[in-house]
Amino acid sequence: MSSTLGEFEQLVLLAVLRLGANAYGATIRREIETRANRELSISAVYTTLQRLEQKGLVRSRMGEPLPERGGRRRKYIDLLPAGAQALKLAYRAFAGMAAGVEQRLRAL
């Protein structure tokens, strides 16, 4: 799995990393909406999760039926080692490129 991550895949993986055990569709989406400040649809999140799962970067497991969700279960997302590795590479590339120009980036 050496293929590089797409930008939205990076955002989703970062959200999963931040949320830890509480990562599922609604929280991932809220995390991206508030932190990255962009509007997105729930299906966009799930589409990306499907792709990440197929690449072996994350794993999903179903939770318990919850009354506040009308008896529906949550699909929790765990970050797999390969996912962590890919995220690390992506962050390194980004940070490497940004190193030394943080001031100018902020000023843009």
């Binding site: 729930i42 299906s43 799930y46 589409t47 179903m62 969700r69 529906r72 699909k75």
Partner: protein, 916 residues
């Protein structure tokens, strides 16, 4: 609302994620509702639903099971290899631009002509009628007894109002029925006076057709049937927008129709022009023609068409059976003396009334003919492809030797021909649009022929959009036509690739490659076998087409020579309506006399007169005729009736057979007089002279009797093809008509004459428009349009077929010479003379052409039978026509060999052998 949004989101989400997506959405909804209120949350939910629907395809693609992904990958490799075929074919076409141009042009002409013809057939008879329950709508006609047993004239007659009333009292089979007829109105006030086509109708006309006014109301039954009520009218959408700017306040306003104030009560939907197809204004029957409602006098005034909606539980056959009973009973109700002459009634579905059987057949024949052209084009293309596949043998053999399967090779050929056919079809669509455009110029809407459904592209208001007349400009390429074209494309691709594929599939790579090393002298694999057969078939197909065209042309020539009973040269005709109230019979007569007097003084005018219906125009009335001086003979003889003034017969050059014409002395206060034509004299008086006898005529106030003062020559008033039938003329001076036909014979040019006439008319009455100004020759031309159009179209297709065949013969012969260059060279080196070489090549061509002609003649005899009813005084197997076209085709075919033969005799033995 919230549940609906949630439902949509779950529906469009793949099953794997459906539960969690729905749950997540609900969580988020509750969050927003708690923070910002339910309204905000609902709006968010709808936006979210839109986004999820938008993203659904990507989600489904991402979530599909692994197994599918596998399949797709292998399919995508198949796709990419077909794509490879396409690119290969495209490259191959680019390398042979001449071949590609010829192939695409051939197909474009073939497919384009077919598409255009299909568009016509589609518009004329395939599209369903846009009426509510259109399948239950029928036109009901009376059937008149034939005047004599051997008389072949049409017997279907329209209705008089009193007979219609009797019919409605009797019948139980129809839910609703209505009468209508086309009339022209002069519309004045609010701008220039103009002539507006319209319909006089009964109240139920709109509800029978399921049409509702877009503004205002329809007519009440009272208005339609009780004379003396305030006049009302409805306007068509076109007239309303054109003349009144679409102002809704027109409803309730007064307009002047035929000089009488009518209150506008309704506006009809756009596209609806009545069953007549051109109406823009409607008036109730009792308002416009109050006399016709009179049971006493109007019993035999047959003027209106009856349209009726069959009850849902009554079949068409049951309705017909019932009508056969009602017909005689309606007749029996007549208080006119009747000796049991058997009137009846019948009906035809509106759908089948759209076009008559001959026009239907003509459309199909032309569609078939154009199909033949495409077949010929396919044969040509097949020949080209075979020729090309011969030159590609080595390439194919090498590919096969390297492991390409036969299927793979065949697919490559298939892709190539599909690409050719598709390119040809695209160009063909352009050709079709062009052809329809030309047709719309040649056949403008003012002389439209077919009655059919609404023009394509016009929005369908439910229940609106009547049986409009269609002109060529209204025919376009709609969905069905495009589907037809797509089918044609696939058919073409399969047809042209079949033979080359078969040939390739029996190819032995080993033999080909070995032979290539030795460049087979002589015929090698290049036998012309299948190609010669194809060219023969092509010649046969072309012969059938040319024979059909020849027969149609001969019919047209026969028709053109047919005497119509008048001399049409240098005669101008124009319609004038003296329908306004101030034109009492006396005033109208004075106007008519004065105008004739003035016109006869115009320099260049030879004579002038008034008539009623125009020859070969088909607009005459028919009525009963009684022999009053034959006591005990109450038989009513159905006879054509028209009106004339002194001068009419001289102007039209209708010969006087016996007695005298009408004169200025035949005034209203003098004894009533009539003229009869030769046919009537022969049929009713059986050799005795009718001059001096008394007859009654069912129209014009002549039923009590009038004296026959003369016999005039027969005039074909309805069609050129048909018999003239018995006719009686009433003098306009004794029987008033509001709409009359002015006829003027003059040496002046049409333009000068028309302006002279307009000037004189304006002088007498500035508000009186002239309409339908036509030379009599134009009227004859119009009456022949069907035969003429058919002979044009078939001749055009025949010429195309001839050209394609010549190209086909040329191609094959050129190929033959090229293949045998070496052989010819050897023969010439061994002492063969030019004559022998010519014989070698031409002999082959003669055999192929002869076989093709023989097959074509046999096929023609079988196929042209379909034309029989369209032909006029020509048998479908007319030997002269068949012989002529066979000769022409034979000459063209052999002429196409000229270049190949010349090439053959120029072969230099040394060059030919060196090229080995």
């Amino acid at each position: 609302m919230k549940r609906l949004g949630l439902w949509i989101i779950s529906r469009v989400t793949p099953a794997a994620d459906r539960e969690s997506v729905a749950g997540d959405t609900l969580e988020r909804y509750d969050e927003i509702a708690a923070a910002n209120g339910a309204g905000r949350a609902r709006r968010w939910l709808w936006r979210e639903a839109g986004r999820v629907v938008w993203g659904a395809p990507a989600h489904w693609l991402a979530a599909r099971p692994a197994r599918w992904r596998q399949v797709r990958r292998s399919r995508s490799s198949a796709m990419s290899s077909i794509w490879q075929d396409v690119r290969y074919a495209a490259r191959w076409f680019r390398r042979a631009p001449g071949f590609t141009a010829i192939a695409v042009t051939t197909l474009a002409l073939g497919i384009g002509a077919n598409t255009a013809m299909f568009a016509v057939v589609n518009a004329v008879m395939l599209k369903p009628l846009p009426f509510a329950d259109a399948d239950r709508l029928m036109l009901v006609h009376l059937l008149a007894p034939r005047p004599t047993p051997d008389h072949q004239g049409p017997a279907e007659v329209v209705w008089s109002y009193p007979k219609y009333e009797t019919f409605t009292e009797l019948q139980r089979e129809f839910e609703e029925s209505a009468l209508f007829t086309g009339r022209e109105f002069s519309l004045s006030g609010d701008g220039d006076p103009e002539r507006v086509p319209g319909e006089v109708i009964t109240a139920s006309y709109l509800s029978v057709l399921g049409v509702r006014p877009v503004l205002g109301r329809g007519f009440t039954a009272e208005e339609a049937t009780r004379p003396g009520l305030p006049p009302v009218a409805m306007l068509g959408h076109g007239l309303w927008t054109r003349r009144y700017g679409g102002d809704p306040n027109v409803v309730g306003r007064t307009i002047r129709l035929a000089g009488v104030a009518h209150t506008v009560v309704g506006i009809l939907p756009r596209g609806f022009h009545g069953l007549g197809g051109n109406a823009d204004v409607w008036t109730p029957l009792a308002v416009s023609e109050p006399d016709m409602v009179d049971r006493e006098h109007a019993w035999d005034s047959h003027s209106y068409t009856l349209v009726a909606k069959r009850r849902g539980d009554v079949s068409a056959d049951q309705a017909l059976a019932a009508l056969a009973v009602y017909g005689p009973r309606i007749d029996a109700t007549s208080r006119k003396e009747s000796n049991g002459s058997s009137w009846s009634a019948t009906a035809r579905s509106l759908q089948n009334s759209r076009i008559d059987a001959d026009l239907r057949r003509l459309s199909l024949v032309v569609l078939g003919a154009v199909g033949f052209v495409l077949l010929i084009a396919c044969v040509n293309l097949t020949n080209l492809l075979i020729a090309r596949s011969l030159t590609r043998r080595r390439e194919v053999a090498i590919r096969m030797a390297l492991g390409a399967g036969r299927w793979r090779i065949a697919r490559q050929l298939g892709v190539e021909s599909l690409l050719l056919a598709a390119t040809g079809a695209l160009a063909g669509l352009v050709v079709a649009v062009g052809l329809l455009h030309i047709a719309s110029i040649v056949l403008p809407d003012s002389s439209v022929f077919f009655r059919a459904s609404i023009a394509p592209g016009t929005p369908r208001i439910p229940g609106a959009a009547g049986l409009t007349r269609i002109g060529a400009t209204m025919i376009g390429l709609d969905g069905l036509t495009l589907v037809f074209t797509a089918g044609l494309t696939i058919f073409t691709a399969v047809a042209v690739s079949l033979l080359p594929s078969l040939q390739t599939s029996v190819l032995r790579p080993f033999l080909v490659l070995k032979a290539a090393a030795a460049t087979a002298s002589g015929r090698g694999h290049g036998g012309l076998g299948p190609r010669a057969i194809l060219v023969g078939a092509e010649i046969a197909l072309a012969l059938v087409l040319l024979a059909s065209a020849g027969l149609m042309i001969k019919s047209a020539m026969r028709l053109y020579d047919r005497p119509i009973g008048v001399d049409p040269a240098n005669v101008l005709t124009a319609q004038i309506s003296l329908g306004e109230r101030r034109y009492t019979p006396e005033v109208a007569l004075a106007f008519q006399d004065e105008l004739l007097r003035r016109l006869r003084r115009v320099a260049g005018v030879e004579s002038a007169g008034w008539g009623f219906c125009a020859p070969v125009g088909g607009g005459c009335n028919r009525t009963g005729l009684w022999l009053r001086d034959r006591p005990g003979d109450g038989q009513q003889r159905l006879t054509g009736v028209t009106w004339a003034s002194p001068g009419f017969f001289e102007t039209m050059r209708i010969p006087l057979i016996a007695g005298r014409f009408f004169t200025d002395d035949d005034r209203r206060d003098r004894p009533k007089v009539v003229l009869v034509n030769e046919t009537a004299a022969r049929m009713y008086w059986l050799g005795e002279s009718p001059v001096g006898r008394r007859i009654g005529v069912g129209q014009g106030g002549f039923s009590d009797g009038a004296e026959v003062v003369g016999i005039v020559g027969d005039v074909r008033y309805s069609t050129i093809e048909g018999d003239p039938g018995p006719f009686v003329y009433l003098p306009l001076s004794q029987s008033h008509r509001a709409g009359v036909l002015l006829v003027v014979r003059s040496q002046l040019g049409t333009g000068a004459l028309v302006s002279a006439i307009s000037r004189e008319v304006r002088d007498l009455d500035p508000n009186l428009p002239l309409t339908t100004i036509k030379t009599m020759s134009d009227r004859v031309g119009d009456a022949m349009w069907r035969t003429r159009v058919a002979s044009w179209l078939l001749s055009g297709f025949g010429a195309l077929a001839l050209l394609l065949t010549a190209i086909g013969v040329f191609g094959v012969m050129a190929q033959l010479v090229a293949q045998r260059t070496a052989e010819i060279g050897i023969r010439m080196a061994l002492g063969a003379r030019r004559r022998d070489v010519v014989g070698l090549v031409l002999g082959r061509a003669v055999v192929v052409t002869g076989a093709g002609l023989a097959a074509g003649l046999a096929a023609s005899v079988a196929v042209t039978r379909a034309l029989a009813t369209l032909l006029y005084e020509v048998t479908p197997t007319d030997p002269l026509t068949l012989g002529t076209v066979a000769l022409v085709l034979g000459i063209v075919s052999l002429a196409a060999c000229y270049v190949p033969v010349r090439r053959a005799i120029r072969v230099e033995a040394v060059t030919a052998l060196r090229s080995e």
